[in-house]
Amino acid sequence: MQEKKRYQKSGQNEVASAANRAGKYLTFRLAAEEYGLEILKVREIIGLMDITKVPRTPNHIRGVINLRGKVIPVLDLRTKFGMEPAPDTEETCIIVVDVAAADNSLLMGILVDAVSEVLDIKEEEIEESPEFGCDIDTSFILGIGKVKNSVKILLDIDRVLTSADLESAEHIARESDGEKIPSLGLID
């Protein structure tokens, strides 16, 4: 799996560099854990702003924000990863990422506890993601970066957001749709 992923990456994007995961990562904090995001995926970092809730969507979708005229969804990574929800603080911010969707890219905000720094992680510092057994899906983890005695979980954001998230959004939607009712099926 990892081999395949790496191969694809080198084919598609020379900037992602020499068939490995080494490169610059934006690290952020989520509860007590440190995570890393490929810097090329990051569009910008914005402070917390008013988020409009969208009813009847999964809990980890916080809602939508107005990013200079563009409406983009915001995902609460804490909830997404099944962590305890925490109140927003001064440090809470939204990382706007460019997610590769099926046909085009999609802007999405992810809500994190705090942004730490940009780290240059070398290939030898990255380890394969550990297997936790079949119950735990680790496909969204690129690897584990060990830098200066700390551990950063490097995320494959495309997988975090498109596969699991969109699927669940669709799943919820399907559930709420129930038996498909055509548009003229009406009640009044």
């Binding site: 409009t52 009813p55 969804p73 959004a169 749709d177 009712i181 548009s183 003229l184 009640i187 009044d188």
Partner: protein, 790 residues
């Protein structure tokens, strides 16, 4: 044309020519166009100048088509001709025809010309000075394209694009498509009988431009087709053909074929670069050639008789006098004016006046047709409009900022109001930029009617009103298909055969009226026919047969007609070539729904049917009511709102536990509590008086319970993207004045959602009670398509 302006134009031409680079094809083409234009302009006043201009344009055409070996010397020759022309014009009242010919000959002879053929052509044309100009130019055309060459070309109608410049080709395809559209539009004008002469010229020019470019790009089939069509049009220009009926059909067909060829080229460009246009082109070419060979098929048309029309209008002569004058022409090419004067029917002064008037109308037309236009990428335009929207929001954020208001400085207030004015103006301009007239769409429909009529063997007359109505670009893009379906239905199902009509005491030919108009902030499209109308019994029968309906409830007319909008519904006994597959009205409904519009059908048996389509002015902006539900704000499209009223406890009737209805002036209205539906935290004990917004989607009517109305807003709709693509109750997002996102409610979606939620939460019996909004309704059984009518 006044001598002065003629002089100016010639000077400009001379300047253009000096600056011209021989390799610059677009510039050559422009120059070519200018000469043709000039020739057309001085057709009446200065036939000598006109002829020389045509000669120049011919030479240019040859240069563009790469048919001369030494371009530079040819250009020089044109230069000499222009200076000869300048002299002629300056010498005032115009040298005689002969004199100018001599000049041209001098000019031509003095230049080094490596292509004796051209020189000879020019000279031969000039030597026939007595001939009319069009014959001369036709002569030229024939030299450019000897029939053998065209025939030869027909044999190699395959296109190989492997070595072509794809960017140039793409430009050509776009441009040629536009020319096709122009040609088509002008053909419609001809059919309608307006400005026939001008239209023929315009079509000619379109084909001509296509021909030039296609020759340069080595697109043989297009070149040949354009050339032959052009020749036919040239015959029409000269008056030896009338563009109507069969001839118009053939030209329509040529335009269509041209489009197909362009499509072929486009596909070839994307794939292997090879395209064989022979099968498409050859039959058309044969037809065109047969007309060229025997133009007498068409009857003669007096292109210059318009002077006659003017004279009649002026009361100087009668139609009979003109007819008799025409029959007594001394020479075939004698001008009507001359004949009339010679016969002493009209004083020369009056004829001169008429001629002036004729020219006046012509130049007016040219002036109004040539508006300066800039082509803009629609993405950029959308981005501009978006950014303006942002500016408006930013402006209102500043204007309503508490800090700034606190300062209460008159200067700041003045500046802010100034800013406000400017942004508002910008916003209006941005909106206006997206507006386009519906005319091209209507023209396509007119054309469809024409063809449908022929296929169905019925006689149909189409009356169009309001084609100048302007609507948003996005709507124009989406309106075509629904209108086309409805027109088809009207022709195929609505209008009876001529015999049937006569039997019913109606006119032989049916009438379809197409109307576009603005009313109350919406745009309406009406399609009305005077055919047999909708058959209520048949519709009901069909609906029962398909299981779309059960229960014996009486349905209102509106509801019955609404049934034809259901998927798979067709009352046509057989599927014809034109329609009857039962997808039509379904598609119409989907399209109209997507545009947030409404459809209304009315019909009187035997008298006809009227389908009215109500659409918002633009898809980008929505007029909505901002409502507050607990702490959240939502926007309900004003288009769907019927009314709103205060909800008091006494009005609510609870049905079997959970369903709530109110009695609204005798009508029972289902209530949807938005806070419950959306799971917004609220206190169930809260007994504040609330507001009901009565909304309507099609025939469904429900009441949405909200906390309060915050006011009407115009907001720019933003797509929420695919993350929420499955949330059918959200129509989109809107940026509110505080910069936050507000969700726009899709009324149809929320009604479905509510019914579904209740459906799942309740048993069969309760479901019935919820559905029983306005009395008994037809209830679906579990696995059928549920259709319940109010």
């Amino acid at each position: 044309m006044a001598v002065n302006s003629l002089e100016k134009k010639l000077d400009m031409l001379a300047a253009d020519l000096v600056l011209l680079s021989v390799e610059d094809l677009p510039a050559l083409a422009r120059l070519h166009e200018s000469f043709l234009q000039l020739a057309a302009d001085c057709r009446q006043a200065r036939p000598d100048v006109e002829r020389l201009c045509r000669e120049c344009s011919l030479i240019l055409e040859k240069i563009v088509l790469n048919e001369v070996s030494d371009r530079a010397s040819q250009i020089e020759k044109i230069g000499d001709t222009i200076s000869a022309l300048q002299k002629m014009v300056r010498n005032g009242r115009g040298g005689s025809e002969r004199e100018s010919s001599a000049r041209f000959n001098d000019a031509a002879a003095s230049s080094e010309c490596s292509s004796p053929e051209i020189l000879e052509n020019s000279k031969s044309a000039i030597s026939k000075g007595q001939q009319s100009e069009s014959e001369a130019s036709a002569q030229g055309d024939k030299v450019v394209y000897p029939p053998e060459e065209a025939a030869e070309a027909a044999e190699e109608l395959a296109i190989n694009l492997q070595n072509s410049d794809s960017a140039l080709l793409a430009d050509f395809i776009n441009e040629a498509r536009e020319h096709c559209a122009v040609a088509e539009q002008k053909l419609m004008d001809i059919e309608a009988g307006t400005d026939i002469e001008g239209a023929i010229h315009a079509i000619f020019r379109s084909f001509h431009t296509i021909k030039g470019a296609a020759g340069f790009l080595e697109l043989k089939p297009i070149l040949v087709l354009a050339h032959e069509s052009e020749t036919v049009l040239d015959l029409a220009r000269k008056g030896s053909l009338t563009v109507s009926g069969p001839i118009a059909d053939i030209i329509f067909d040529a335009v269509d074929t041209m489009r197909h060829l362009l499509e072929g080229v486009e596909t070839a460009l994307k794939s292997d670069g090879y395209f064989d246009g022979a099968s498409l082109t050859i039959p058309r070419l044969e037809r065109l050639r047969s007309i060229i060979a025997n133009p007498a098929q068409g009857n003669t048309m007096g292109t210059s008789s318009r002077v006659g029309d003017i004279l009649i209008e002026m009361g100087a002569v009668s139609q009979q006098e003109i007819d008799s004058a025409l029959s007594r022409k001394e020479k075939p090419d004698e001008k009507l004016g001359e004949t009339l004067v010679r016969q002493g029917l009209v004083p020369a002064k009056v004829v001169a006046h008429a001629l002036r008037e004729q020219q006046q109308t012509r130049s007016d037309k040219i002036a109004s047709a040539v508006k300066e236009m800039v082509k803009i990428d629609t993405d950029r335009l959308d981005r501009l409009v978006d950014t303006i929207g942002e500016l408006v929001i930013a402006e209102s954020m500043v204007g309503q900022d508490e800090e700034i208001l606190k300062m209460a400085s008159p200067k700041i207030a003045r500046n802010i109001s100034h800013l406000n004015k400017i942004t508002r103006e910008l916003q209006e301009m941005g909106m206006a930029m997206r507006l386009v007239p519906v005319k091209p769409t209507f023209q396509k429909l007119a054309r469809a009617v024409r063809e449908l009529t022929k296929k169905s063997g019925k006689e149909v007359e189409l009356a169009i009103f309001g084609e100048e109505t302007e609507v948003d670009r996005s709507i124009v893009e989406n309106i075509g298909d629904p209108l086309m379906h409805m027109i088809r239905n009207a022709v195929d199902h609505g209008i009876e055969s001529p015999e049937e009509r006569v039997k019913a005491g109606k006119n032989r030919s049916g009438k379809i009226t197409l109307r576009a108009y603005h009313k109350g902030g919406n745009i309406f499209f009406d399609i009305e026919d005077d055919g047999r109308g909708l058959n209520k019994e048949k519709i009901l029968e069909k609906a029962r047969e398909k299981g779309l309906l059960d229960g014996e409830r009486e349905l209102s007319d509106k509801e019955i007609f609404g049934l034809i909008l259901l998927p798979g519904f067709s009352t046509a006994a057989k599927v014809t070539d034109l329609s009857g597959r039962g997808v039509g009205m379904d598609v119409v409904r989907k399209n109209v729904d997507a545009m947030r519009g409404h459809l209304e059908i009315n019909s009187t048996p035997g008298k006809g049917a009227l389908i009215s389509m109500k659409l918002p002015l633009t898809l980008a902006i929505i007029d909505g009511m901002l409502v507050k539900v607990e702490e959240e704000c939502y926007i309900i499209p004003t288009l769907s709102i019927v009314e709103s009223l205060r909800l008091s406890k006494e009005m609510i009737k609870s049905v079997v536990g959970r369903g709530e209805i109110v009695d609204l002036r005798g009508d029972l209205l289902t209530l949807i509590r938005i806070n419950e539906l959306f799971g917004i935290p609220h206190d169930p004990q809260d007994n504040r008086p609330r507001t009901v917004v009565v909304v309507e989607d099609g025939f469904k009517r429900v009441g949405l319970v909200v906390d309060e109305l915050l006011g009407q807003r115009q907001t720019v709709i933003k797509n929420l993207g695919r993350t929420f693509g499955n949330q059918k109750w959200i129509a989109g997002g809107a940026i509110l004045s505080n910069g936050n996102v507000g969700l726009i409610i899709d009324v149809g979606g929320i009604i479905n959602l509510a019914s579904e939620v209740n459906w799942r939460h309740k048993g069969e019996t309760e479901r019935k009670s919820l559905a029983g909004g306005e009395g008994s309704s037809a209830l679906p059984s579990e696995n059928r398509t549920p259709v319940m009518l109010a």
